[in-house]
């Protein structure tokens, strides 16, 4: 990324994101307990995920498969990996360590393409186990006054992939687009349900600022507890402004973890730990390395579905539209339909417009591509006006049926060009003064007057005439 985007005059924003995605496996990472959200606390637990003495972890093969699938979708290199223990004392992990991948992760050095065509580098995407869920309670119900915490280990040991981006992101909108795109990729792959509101997708943002032109990065803060894509943008902007305000008065931010406070729209410092992080990583002695073969990787590549960026590119190519203008149809999952419709001979641009504007956005399309193509072809050939086409489509959506038959039943075929000319001539004869004015008018005045004539024609035909066809007849008559 070479282009400098100023966040505030003279300041550049630098963001890297860490996204945690819980994998949609049936069981946990290292034991056979159910991996499902929403169960009664501590009902999906066993000696392994409770860290009881004598228990041993066994890797979930599907989790490894999903992680590699995600890695390949992000154009990562998939390498032999080793699990490690990350040691820390916190009641969300009963073992007092979290099993993760440290210096030998499954996926490294990838990239993600945003809808605007820019790329964000992916440093790594590694497998690890999720922690348990702690909730705090205290006299006043607020965390500061907490007297105790309650711990639910249903989530402890749930497999997740942490995707770490390069500090390539330069605007809050880009950060949001990155998370949104990653979410779509994960959903397309079927490896996670990626629900931010349920915590199956969580975002931490590393934020710093620097004066435009300064080559080095400055102190960054890690923002946690961001619960929606909208908050990703808000939290980043708040934090960047906070840094600039500190530099403006000759101070500087402290490198620390901060928490996004959604209610107050600000970040606040976590109570600093007594020790700086010292996780004493070491290779997990209870697990052996994962060594994917070239065949494994080839098999995963062959089974990858078409991803959103490729879908946007395909649709843009077919329709001649800009990539940004096909995003909506791709996001709705309607792009395959457009491709099929165009494949049976319908005009691509018209098809895209009709699909985007006139099909229910939140539903899968049940219409046959051939029927829809027929409708678009009729409209393009001038057999149906735009208004008529919409009416026919509404009928097709409601009750199904063939567009030709529906149009015939509605009497739409009657408005052939000969009939239209007759109607226009009738209107001209009935309004001689306006017509005389129209004939001598310049383009601008004509435009105004043609509105009057078109309106009269529409009235006479009950809206079944095609506005463009009317304009053509008017122009032809005036030129005589």
């Amino acid at each position: 990324m070479t282009e400098v985007i100023e966040f505030q005059p003279g300041w550049e924003l630098i963001v890297g994101l860490e996204v945690h995605c819980e994998l949609a496996t049936k069981t946990k990472m290292f034991c056979g307990c159910r991996n499902e959200f929403g169960h009664e606390p501590n009902t999906n637990v066993c000696p392994t995920c409770l860290g009881l003495p004598g228990s041993l972890p066994v890797v979930n093969g599907s989790a490894v498969e999903y992680a590699m699938r995600l890695g390949r979708a992000l154009q990562c290199t998939v390498s032999p990996s080793v699990f490690a223990r990350k040691n820390y004392f916190y009641p969300d992990m009963p073992k007092d360590y979290q099993v993760t991948q440290y210096d030998k992760p499954t996926n490294t050095a990838g990239k993600l393409e945003l809808p605007d065509g820019s790329f964000v580098g992916i440093t790594r995407a590694h497998l690890e186990e999720d922690t348990g869920k702690t909730s705090h309670q205290g006299g006043d119900g607020r965390i500061h006054g907490a007297e105790s915490s309650l711990v639910d280990y249903n989530r402890a040991g749930v497999p997740l992939v942490e995707i770490v981006s390069e500090p390539d992101i330069r605007t809050a909108d880009q950060a949001k687009a990155y998370v949104d795109e990653l979410r779509k990729i994960v959903l397309a792959l079927g490896v996670s349900d990626a629900k931010m509101e349920e915590g199956s997708m969580r975002v931490d943002a590393n934020v710093s600022v620097r004066p435009v032109g300064e080559p080095e990065f400055r102190t960054r803060c890690e923002i946690k507890n961001i619960n929606s894509i909208r908050s990703v943008g808000r939290a980043i902007e708040y934090e960047a402004k906070r840094h600039i305000a500190l530099y403006d008065v000759g101070e500087k931010p402290t490198q620390e973890t901060r928490h996004w406070d959604e209610e107050h729209g600000r970040t606040r410092a976590g109570r600093s730990k007594e020790n700086s992080d010292d996780y004493r990583y070491f290779d997990e002695p209870d697990l052996v390395p994962l060594v994917p073969t070239a065949d494994d990787i080839a098999r995963i590549d062959a089974a990858l579905p078409m991803l959103p960026a490729s879908r946007r590119r395909r649709l843009a190519e077919i329709t001649g539209a800009a990539a940004a203008d096909v995003t909506l149809v791709v996001d709705r999952g309607h792009d395959d339909f457009v491709v099929s419709v165009v494949g049976v001979g319908a005009d691509a641009k018209k098809t895209l417009t009709r699909v985007e504007n006139d099909l229910p956005p939140d539903q899968p399309i049940t219409l046959a591509p051939q029927s829809f193509a027929q409708l678009v072809i009729m409209e393009t050939a001038g057999e149906l006006t735009a208004t008529q086409a919409k009416q026919v489509l509404a009928e097709m959506l409601e009750n199904g049926g063939d567009p030709k038959a529906i149009a015939a039943a509605k009497g739409f075929e009657a408005m052939a060009s000969g009939a239209l000319e007759a109607v226009v001539d009738g209107i001209i004869a009935a309004n001689p003064a306006d017509w005389a004015e129209f004939v001598v008018a310049d383009d601008k005045a004509r435009k105004k007057l043609s509105g009057f004539f078109t309106g009269q024609v529409m009235k006479a035909t009950q809206g079944q005439a095609d506005g463009r066809a009317v304009a053509e007849v008017l122009a032809r008559r005036a030129a005589r």
Binding site: T25, K26, T27, C31, G32, C33, R34, E40, P41, N42, T43, N44, V45, C46, L50, V58, V59, N60, G61, S62, A63, V64, P80, V82, N87, F89, Y90, P91, K104, T134, S135, H136, G138, I143, H144, A146, E147, S148, S149, L150, V151, D152, Y153, T257, H259, G270, R271, S272, K273, E274, N275, R280, D283, P285, L287, V288, P289, L290, V291, P292
Partner: protein
């Protein structure tokens, strides 16, 4: 020739003990520091070996890719799980308030 690592200091031992949540007395620090130093000195002997051409290994076992099929197995009964906890509330483990991080 590898440089010998610096011998472990009393402060290092106190730091490591703290990370492991061990509260050591001054006497214990005096006692453990030379003991740990001896263990590390032994490990340092290994560093003196010429390991050129030896592939680093994460594991002594000749195994890789040990995975299981993603099939649910029964969990244990919650009453039994919580019976082992010193403090319980609402079906959850109750622990002393957590000061770090979540504030």
């Amino acid at each position: 020739m590898l440089a010998m690592p610096k011998p472990i200091s009393r402060a290092d031992v106190a730091h490591v003990a703290r990370l492991a949540r061990l509260r050591l007395t001054d006497d214990e620090l005096d006692q453990f520091t030379p003991q740990l130093a001896a263990v590390l000195a032994h490990a340092a002997d290994v560093e003196a070996l010429d390991v050129t051409g030896v592939i680093p290994t994460a594991h002594p076992l000749p195994l890789r890719n040990v995975v299981r099929v993603d099939v649910v197995r029964p969990s244990i009964d919650r009453a039994a799980v919580l019976a082992a906890a010193p403090n319980v509330q609402d079906g959850q483990f109750r622990v002393p308030s957590i000061l770090a991080e979540e504030s």
